[in-house]
Symmetry: C2
Subunit: 647 residues, 2 copies
């Protein structure tokens, strides 16, 4: 059970540079394979060799105007006082001196003629065309090659073929075009615990989703993914899979088997059949990356956690696929904003944090999401990645930071940021805001108190709150008046919702109230500090004079109602406070305790956004969608309960 | 031969707004078709309905660390002074009190256990595990649903599915995913002059390239193009094609048949079978656009010139396809720079000008390209489009303007801008600069004098020049000392090249020198004012005391050596001055006149770029590629002839 040491932990930049340089040295970016495509099908592909015109455009001399085609010398004497008369010939008849043809724009200039007189300057009379001014030779004629000259360079090698480029290539007589072939990238999932089908999924097994995720990322790099079967954790199986990959592909990815654990054969295989350049990069997450070259083909071991795998893919696979295809390296789009919370970080490691982004006071606000490398949901919710340099111990809240965006699409939508208490209705609010106003709602669940702080610090535009003032029995208002005195805000009612104890199906431990939580053998799951639901539990315990420290599991914190329910379903707790809707959805029993008031603090500039919000909250559709979850009453949703002008 | 009047010429913004509003009114953006895809194949697609988790992730309680799985209550008494000993059971054996199992990260927690103690804190001895500290229940256990909770919203409708999204959807048990279907767009080419095959191309016919260009643009909008056969110019044929399109597609484009000409039936057909909303938009180029709705499907008539068609596509097709697919409207990336030349413009029309962009003194410089709507080559060479407002009569040189870029790719490369005299070696220089340094060379051909002016105004980094000082017989240097006195520049030699008279193959008019150009019946083609080649002709004529005004065609100007040659090949001229290489390539005869010196004025900041340039100019490969054109001598290419420090 001893770990192998990493070869040497390289800084990220050094690893990237060395990796690309080594691949360049072994000729990986030269003489790349190409293929011929019908020109019409080549959009967005990279042209492999410079294209020269095979014919001129236009390919015949043609009229640039509607009018008559004439021989200029026949017109030289024409003037206002001395009109000339040209015989109008039918197109079929041969040219004779002092005659002309009627001609439309684009028609071929008939033999014998060399200029066009605009129709507006011609008067037709008796089969003759009367003209009052001379024509100069070749006037209003588009001459062969005016647009493209035969033999001319029309597209240099490695240009990306645009729709206009297709028009130019076809016009210039190129019916097919040589393009850089898309690289084929093998993806080898490894691990005894992996299964490929949902139906094979039993406890102890996990579904291979990474190979699908990586294949999609490969597709986005204009390359072709080739998913191999799952290789089991032994030397020979992994070696066989890699050899197969080398024989069919331009690059091989292995996932995972790259950390220094006991069952990790990838490194050994690669060291035996090729050259391992890097084993371990000083980044977090994603440290256990293996970069190697086998048979002049890059073979990359990616970490097993999805978040780490994607980060390593972006750093070490994307640039290689770009160079191989002669695509310029595309730096991701970035956005600069204000960090919503303090961010501790480890010195000596470059850390990449997923963040969510909202617009507060016209300024992007950057909210760090969960850190766990395995947390798929945060990777998916994230708008981008914040890099914290290896020399930095952390960043204070309010720092100006730059974030690499995953895509531009999300930022095209107006973004609202909600930081505060979690409620299921926020998901539904998000859907309706998007439908009705194309507005994106991002949520961070930090509890009611955290929400009030976020509004106070100008970090969020919305905060869900449900804080009972024990003295007055009133919700939220007194708390806000106290902590948000100097701020501008409105408090908008969202719902009355039913809180209570979620307990196991059919109540096997016979729990009837919070008093039972203190019984030996009863384990609870709690919400995080600052959550209104936790405050409610504390209030109830206080009423019964129960010391929370006597309750097993009181310290076990999760962040949402659904997570409380899931923990009970998993058998890791017998009870927990939460809303009826979560208990209903998860098939748990529920002991009602109280209806409470869940409101939104709103601190936003735009009246338009505020109107949209109110209109959604008051809509029948929204009310219906939320109330059908159970345990909700939205009769007064959208009512402004209180406001503060900020002075 | 009278023109139909346009319905009403609408301003662009009004037309766009009305168009999208009308389509929204008729429900075109609601309940759009969807299709189910295997989740792994859905990258970059738009999810059609919100996705909720079908199972939790993780789906079983598992060890978060390597260690031993224990029942926490068995460990409560453990301390340094009071170690506890747990019997290590094999995995197959049922749990008993005071026992444990060895467990690896990710393994299922065995029934009966509820916590994990890290391997580092365990001492194995005699089949027993010795522990010195108590475990709390559920420590180091990943509980069911820790990442994703069953029934939770994992992706809201209309999100674009990313690789991480695929991982989340698959993990949550969704093997297929409903996505918004790609719209099918019919493209109907119309026109009696059109042919679809290169081999059908005879004078008077033109190749249908627009339908391929538009299909490529449709593909770029994530839609599916459906190219129809060419419809001839009559009412019934066009109507049939449109009816067929309506029965198979989500949108129909007709190209062209939209101007108010005599053979334009599109408008009439659309007015008869649907509602024409717009006929004519106040933009240039692209005025004759028809926007109509037939059977609740948008049918759009696009202008025939490729440049106009693409502009109208961007303005009136792209946004509709984005909305229909629930993609946010993506404003094109923009860049701000300095206008290189004065730009006159027509008041009352919004003008869209293709421009090329270079970096001069770290600042983007915007060079307007040709205006002709039919000029494919300029559309292809362009980096972006400059919009001149309808209220503007023109823009002075040096104005700060914003340009919509066609793609970001071109700007990722470093860009060098050459404005000046044209030479075929510049194309080859561009290829080598890209190969050796990934640098993009953009050229504008304005003649030697124009090049000197461009350097003087800080508009270009390079300028090709060949200006003979008649007094000294020296090339370029004296001219530069005079006109670029206060500037910083270096003059780098490129080539000696052979100038002469290009004449028709086999010299049917028996031309032997410039003296023959004045003969009756001889027609020439000339280069533009300011071109060194034109100055050479003037110098030769002056030597023979010939008045240029006596030469037929002296006023007919084209911009490049190849265009001069093409004009002669086309039969529109009998002779013209130019370089031997162009005559050779185009199969013309050539009467040598002089070897002249073609140099580059270089005015650039970066030493790195300058070194790259010199290294390319001095390379054997470059010399070989240029000299093999004929009429070139590059023995001294890359030599710095003169320089000015600017003070």
């Amino acid at each position: 059970m001893k770990n192998k040491a990493y070869l040497r932990m390289l800084p990220r930049e050094e690893a990237q540079k060395m990796w690309l340089a080594k691949l360049a040295d072994c000729g990986y970016f030269d003489n790349v394979p190409q293929e011929d495509l019908p020109t019409g099908s080549a959009v967005d592909r990279v042209i492999a060799t410079s294209a020269y015109a095979r014919r001129s455009v236009p390919h015949y001399n043609s009229a640039a105007m509607d009018g008559i085609a004439v021989r200029a010398v026949d017109t030289f004497a024409a003037s206002d006082r001395n009109p000339q008369y040209l015989t109008v010939l039918p197109g079929s008849q041969e040219f004779q001196p002092a005659s002309c043809y009627v001609i439309n724009t684009g028609n071929m200039l008939p033999p014998g003629t060399d200029s066009v007189i605009m129709i507006e300057h011609v008067h037709f009379t008796d089969g003759k065309a009367e003209i009052m001014a001379p024509a100069t030779p070749w006037q209003h004629v588009r001459i062969i090659g005016e647009d493209i000259v035969e033999h001319e360079l029309i597209m240099p090698e490695f240009d990306i073929i645009s729709p206009a480029g297709i028009a130019a290539l076809l016009s210039a007589g190129l019916e097919t075009v040589p393009v850089v072939a898309r690289p084929i990238v093998s993806v080898i999932p490894t691990g005894n615990e992996l299964v490929s089908q949902q139906k094979q999924l039993v406890p102890g097994k996990i579904l291979d989703v990474n190979s699908h995720m990586l294949s999609a990322a490969i597709t986005q790099c204009s390359a072709i993914p080739l998913r191999a079967g799952i290789a089991v954790d032994n030397y020979q199986s992994i070696k066989n899979a890699i050899m197969e990959g080398l024989s069919t592909s331009d690059m091989v990815l292995i996932n995972a088997g790259t950390s220094a654990g006991t069952e990790d054969y990838t490194y050994q295989v690669l060291a035996d059949i090729g050259e391992v350049l890097v084993h371990g990069v000083a980044i977090k997450p994603g440290k256990p990356v293996v970069l190697s070259i086998c048979q002049n083909i890059p073979v990359i071991g990616l970490p097993g956690y999805p978040v780490s795998a994607m980060l390593a893919f972006d750093l070490f696979v994307k640039p290689v696929l770009a160079c191989r295809q002669k695509l310029s390296w595309q730096a991701p789009p970035t956005i600069t904003g204000k960090l919503a919370r303090q961010l501790p970080s480890e010195i000596g490691v470059e850390e990449y944090l997923r963040v969510s982004i909202g617009n507060v006071n016209e300024q992007p606000t950057i909210v760090p999401l969960g850190r766990g490398a395995g947390v798929i949901s945060s990777l998916m919710r994230a708008h981008g990645v914040l890099k914290v340099d290896e020399g930095t111990a952390g960043l204070p809240a309010g720092s100006t930071v730059s974030v690499d965006l995953f895509d531009k699409q999300s930022l095209q939508r107006q973004s609202l940021l909600a930081i505060g208490s979690h409620d299921l209705s926020l998901d539904i609010l998000g859907l309706h805001l998007r439908r009705q106003g194309n507005v994106n709602l991002s949520c961070a669940n930090v509890g009611s108190a955290g929400g009030v702080m976020a509004i106070r610090n100008g970090e969020a535009q919305l905060a869900g709150v449900h804080i009972l003032d024990e003295a007055t029995g009133q919700y939220n208002v007194s708390y806000l008046r106290k902590y948000l005195a100097g701020r501008q805000w409105r408090l908008v009612h969202l719902a009355q919702r039913e809180q209570g104890l979620m307990i196991e199906k059919n109540n096997p431990h016979n729990i009837t109230s919070v008093v039972d939580l203190v019984r030996p053998g009863i384990q609870i799951v709690n919400r995080q500090r600052g959550a209104g639901t936790r405050m409610l539990l504390d209030y109830l315990l206080k009423g019964q004079a129960i010391d929370p420290q006597m309750i097993s599991g009181y310290e076990k914190e999760v962040g949402t109602h659904m997570a409380v329910a899931a923990t009970i379903v998993a058998g890791a707790a017998n009870a927990g406070m939460g809303i009826r809707a979560a208990a209903d959805i998860m098939g748990l029993d529920f002991i009602p305790v109280a209806w409470e008031q869940y409101d939104l603090i709103v601190a936003m500039d735009g009246d338009q956004l505020f109107s949209l919000l109110i209109s959604v909250l008051k809509s029948d559709k929204f009310r219906h969608d939320v109330e059908s979850l159970g345990g909700y009453d939205l009769s007064n949703a959208g009512t402004v309960i209180a406001e503060n002008t900020g002075v």
